[in-house]
């Protein structure tokens, strides 16, 4: 033993059952007497509704119940979804009714729920429910919706502005008056969606005799679901157990609390039988939160040298129909500005605007990809204006190593000053240039252009605030067989947290990984938890697992010292036993130590031990938020005949501090980059003028496929974070955050001969041809 676990490419403990097909996702769970739910959803984007007849649906053989707003139980605290993240700054908060009462605000909003003996019959019954719609004004375009006279997304509001927020530091006006030149930029960032391969799903199992509800949900945040369902139904948290079993991807939209979770809880209680709802893919397009339509208008002030001195501007953020995830997406849009760049004066305002589209909430990176994109587009625009190479331009503006810890001037959501703890931004830039053979590519590009081939290279540098607290606890317990059970409030959707937790424990306790069982995503197994959001789990569980197992180790040594009658200094923990250093034949196994701390055997706890079990719990977190960072390069070739883009290569240098498992980190980064490439080139959620979603299948909504993805080359630097004892930083979103910027910069770079400015993404082939001078094409 004594094998290093932390930092090793340890195979995942999660894989065995998944590669055999033995995974257990919500829809895989069958309970005796289980019924199936389906929803009738609004076919109009904004309308007054009246349910005129449910009798035919109710009368269909196999139908157990038809629920509408009017027939929801009166015992509910509210028939409207409770606010998940209320905040005083929210001017007008609108959450959906659990089932629409009088007005629907987007296509896909739930109007009625049918519970039946099969999903087929439930869907049959939905078709029999009669609803009268009276059309209302439809707000689709967020710019129009933001205007005082714009069409209202909700008829009871005076305007569509949910909230106005800003980030402001330095003296912007003075900086603008002192700069050499200014530029104005306007661009649109598109929303895209979640598209975890497993859609959402909820299974409720109410046990009348016990007065207990078990709710299986494909969620990132089981404790949030427990809290919200408990409040919504007015029943104690202790009577609700939420289990997130195997979850088929989350990416953000599964971090919220949805009406369906409350409704399934209501249905199983009312019907006294298990009820399951499995979101189908079409519902996923209209009922699961999407990401981030934003219009950015920025003005940049800079020196002739390339130094950017000031930025001001405004963001119009499309919230979609409801604000069921508070302002987190808006806040994480402004908070990361100005990214890794040293820009001392900044003032950006943001309006969160309601429209009659699907609600938005964080998707991989939340608002950070938007902020990173804005900064990297600014850098490239100024570079082009000044004829400075974009790489040099970045070098000029990046925060330098001697600046750490660096305070850009912006603030965290809790009001404290943002601090970049550590990093080597310029070093990463140099490294990624080297990897991509940047200088040679510029030569290659020149020659290719002469032959009518349009190559482009794009850069992006980013930071990411990670490891957000307050905690994600881990309990480490050695059982009487010497096996270790680690339980945690952190839930996983495929990231490999169990492996990482096991690695940390295995290293500290010096035992084999296969002797550690990690239990997570179950409120019945651990009292408190938050969830897998914001690249926070590795940092929080890493610290807690390390701390808890260190406490267990201390406890084991102390007890062994008593039992062996040896001084603790003479003992060591190795290979599952506490041993006398000088005499390896004298030892006591962890199993025996655990047995001694099990009072049923011992009669009483040994002196000096005030808690049962060879176990300890820790809720250790980072002192402040560690910042991951990175530099990316994309290389593309644009076909100006078709508008097609071929991604040639993609390079990442990433710094997430001390790496717990490089295989897992690389997996997170590569997957994240491809998500970003999807945003940049493929994924487009199109709504027509009436608010009808036009891309609700995977033929029309394009997710990135293996056939178009390049090889993604990943390298790391490790600057340990001083913010926590293990030097950890988060890694879950660092692939996605810079990728859109790198891609768009590369595509724009390829189109330099056409003096193209890319004002929106995804960049479709059609848009490419619009950018390419048509006269030049005609001459082709």
């Amino acid at each position: 033993m004594g094998v290093r676990q932390i930092g090793a490419r340890v195979q995942r403990v999660e894989d065995e059952h998944l590669i055999r097909g033995d995974g257990k996702y919500v829809d895989d769970i069958q309970l005796p007497g289980m019924a199936y739910a389906a929803f009738l959803r609004s076919s109009m984007a904004h309308a007054k509704i009246k349910i005129t007849d449910i009798s035919a649906a109710k009368g269909l053989p196999g139908v157990y119940a038809v629920l509408t707003y009017d027939t929801l139980p009166s015992s509910l605290v509210s028939k409207t979804q409770l606010e998940t993240y209320p905040a005083p700054i929210i001017k007008q908060s609108v959450c959906p009714d659990l089932l629409a009462s009088e007005e629907v605000a987007h296509v896909g909003q739930a109007i009625a729920m049918v519970v039946a003996s099969s999903r087929h019959i439930a869907e049959d019954a939905c078709e029999l429910i009669q609803v009268d719609y009276t059309a209302l004004s439809v707000a689709v375009d967020v710019v129009e919706a933001a205007k005082p006279e714009g069409p209202l997304a909700h008829s009871h509001l005076k305007d569509n502005i949910a909230a106005s927020i800003e980030t402001k530091f330095g003296d912007v006006e003075a900086a603008f008056s002192e700069c050499d030149d200014t530029l104005k930029l306007k661009f649109k960032q598109h929303r895209g969606g979640c598209h975890a391969m497993e859609c959402r799903g909820v299974l409720g199992d109410w046990q009348q005799q016990l007065g207990e509800l078990t709710l299986y949900s494909s969620t990132q945040c089981p404790y949030l679901v427990r809290r919200m369902v408990s409040r919504q139904l007015d029943c104690p948290e202790s009577s609700i157990r939420v289990i997130a079993p195997d979850v088929g991807g989350g990416f953000g939209p599964k971090a919220g609390y949805y009406p369906e979770e409350a409704l399934i809880a209501i249905a199983t209680k009312e019907l006294r039988r298990p009820v399951k709802w499995t979101e189908d893919r079409r519902e996923h397009f209209t009922a699961t939160n999407q990401q981030r339509d934003q219009i950015w208008e920025l003005e940049v002030g800079f020196k002739k040298t390339g130094e950017i001195t000031a930025i001001k501007g405004h963001v119009t953020h499309d919230s979609g129909a409801f604000l069921n995830y508070g302002l987190l997406l808006s806040a994480t849009t402004l908070m990361p500005l100005p990214g890794p760049y040293k820009i001392k004066n900044l003032h950006v305002t943001l309006n969160t605007v309601y429209t009659n589209t699907v609600s938005t909430s964080p998707v991989r990176g939340a608002g950070r990809p938007n902020a990173a994109y804005a900064m990297d587009r600014v850098i490239d625009a100024v570079a082009r204006h000044l004829s400075i190479d974009p790489a040099d331009m970045r070098h000029i503006n990046l925060v330098k190593n001697e600046d750490f810890p660096y305070q850009p001037g912006s603030k965290h959501r809790n009001g404290s000053m943002m601090t970049y703890d550590s990093g080597d931004y310029t070093g990463m830039l140099a490294m990624v240039k080297e990897m991509a053979d940047y200088d040679n590519f510029r030569q290659e590009q020149k020659q290719a252009r002469a032959n009518g081939k349009y190559l482009g290279i794009g850069l992006a540098c980013f930071i990411e605030d990670t490891g957000m607290g307050p905690y994600e606890g881990v309990n480490v317990r050695v059982d009487v067989t010497g096996n270790v059970i680690a339980s945690t409030g952190a839930a996983s959707q495929g990231q490999g947290h169990a492996t990482v937790i096991a690695q940390v424990i295995a290293e500290e306790l010096d035992i084999e990984i296969n002797k550690i069982r990690v239990e997570s995503g179950d409120t019945g197994k651990f009292p408190h938890g938050i969830g897998a959001i914001g690249s926070r789990t590795g940092v929080n569980v890493g610290l807690s697992a390390n701390d808890a197992s260190s406490q267990v180790k201390k406890k084991a040594l102390k007890l062994a010292s008593i039992l062996l009658d040896k001084n603790e200094d003479t003992l060591e923990l190795s290979d599952g036993a506490v041993r006398v250093r000088s005499d390896s034949n004298q030892f006591i196994t962890l199993a025996d130590l655990a047995l001694q701390l099990s009072p049923a055997v011992a009669g009483k706890l040994p002196d000096g031990f005030d808690s049962a079990g060879l176990e300890a719990v820790s809720y250790l977190s980072s002192d402040y938020m560690p910042h991951s960072s990175g530099a990316n390069i994309a290389k593309v070739e644009v076909d100006i005949v078709t508008g097609g883009i071929k991604i040639l290569d993609y390079y990442v240098v990433h710094d997430c501090g001390r790496i717990l498992n490089p295989m897992i980190v690389d997996g997170q980064i590569i997957g994240g980059v491809v998500h970003g490439i999807g945003n940049a080139m493929f994924e487009q959620m199109v709504y027509d003028d009436a608010g009808n979603p036009m891309t609700t299948n995977y033929g029309d909504y394009l997710l990135p496929l293996a056939s178009e993805m390049p090889e993604i080359h990943v390298a790391h630097i490790e600057t340990p974070s001083p913010a926590n004892p293990m030097g950890l930083k988060g890694a879950g979103e660092g692939g996605t955050i810079p990728a859109i910027g790198a891609m768009i910069n590369a595509i724009e770079d390829a189109l330099t001969p056409f003096d193209a400015y890319i004002a929106q993404y995804p960049v479709t082939p059609e848009y490419i041809l619009e950018l390419v001078d048509s006269e030049k094409i005609a001459a082709e």
Partner: protein, 284 residues
Amino acid sequence: MKASAFTYYKPNSLEDALGLLQNEEDAKVLAGGQSLMPMLNMRFVQPETIIDVNGIDELARISVTDKLEIGALTRQKTLAKDPTIRQHLPIMQEALTWVGHFQTQSRGTIGGSLCHLDPAAELPMVALLYDAELQVASASGIRSIPMQEWALAYMMPSISHDELLTKIIIKPWQGSHGYGFQEFARRHGDFAIAAAGCLIKIDNNIIEDIAISIGGVEDVPRRFTECEDVLRAIKYDIDDIKMQVLKPLSKINYLDDSLVTGAYRRRLLRGLLIRAVEQAAGRS
């Protein structure tokens, strides 16, 4: 996303199938199911009856004389690998590299593609190039439809509810000629935004004969005869061809929808058409 209820029949002979088609008012024929099944699952179609023709072995044969007779039930995967097709209709195998994915080709059939008649479907484009003859059967007999008359309107082939497409008869071009097939889709296996197929016979640098089919740009895939007419019998000069195609291209009634504009389809088709002609000429 579960289909609404229907009655399912699986006839084992053509005769039985035709009898069912004659008697069932609201029936859909299920062949490979790669287009029909999604529409059933999404309840875009809710037929009372499904007639599964997969048990009719005689519909799945390929035979060759001076013509190729391809049974309507022949799977795309079979066409993609069949040596007879490779020898006589290599363009069909090239076109199939653009059709869906290997898992959908496992079940998808040529007859299904022709009857579903997606505007961007590749196999109808190939059939168009050769003026294929389509044979449809009903309880009252067999009739033959020239491919150019097959498409009546958007996704509406010239076949009535009691008829079944049984075979596709293709007469390969004789003598030295070349073929080209060009398509553009956003991702591998997606429906084409535009596609162009070309057969060309060049003698002494003169285009002796040419056939062009286009897909994805209009309501239905079709022969681009306006373009063939301007190119036939002229000298093969690609720069000249680039100019010659402009006028016929302006006569197309381009699809224009919320995802792709007609203006883009036009520019794209022009590029693809030139590439298809060049590719065909290069192989002639």
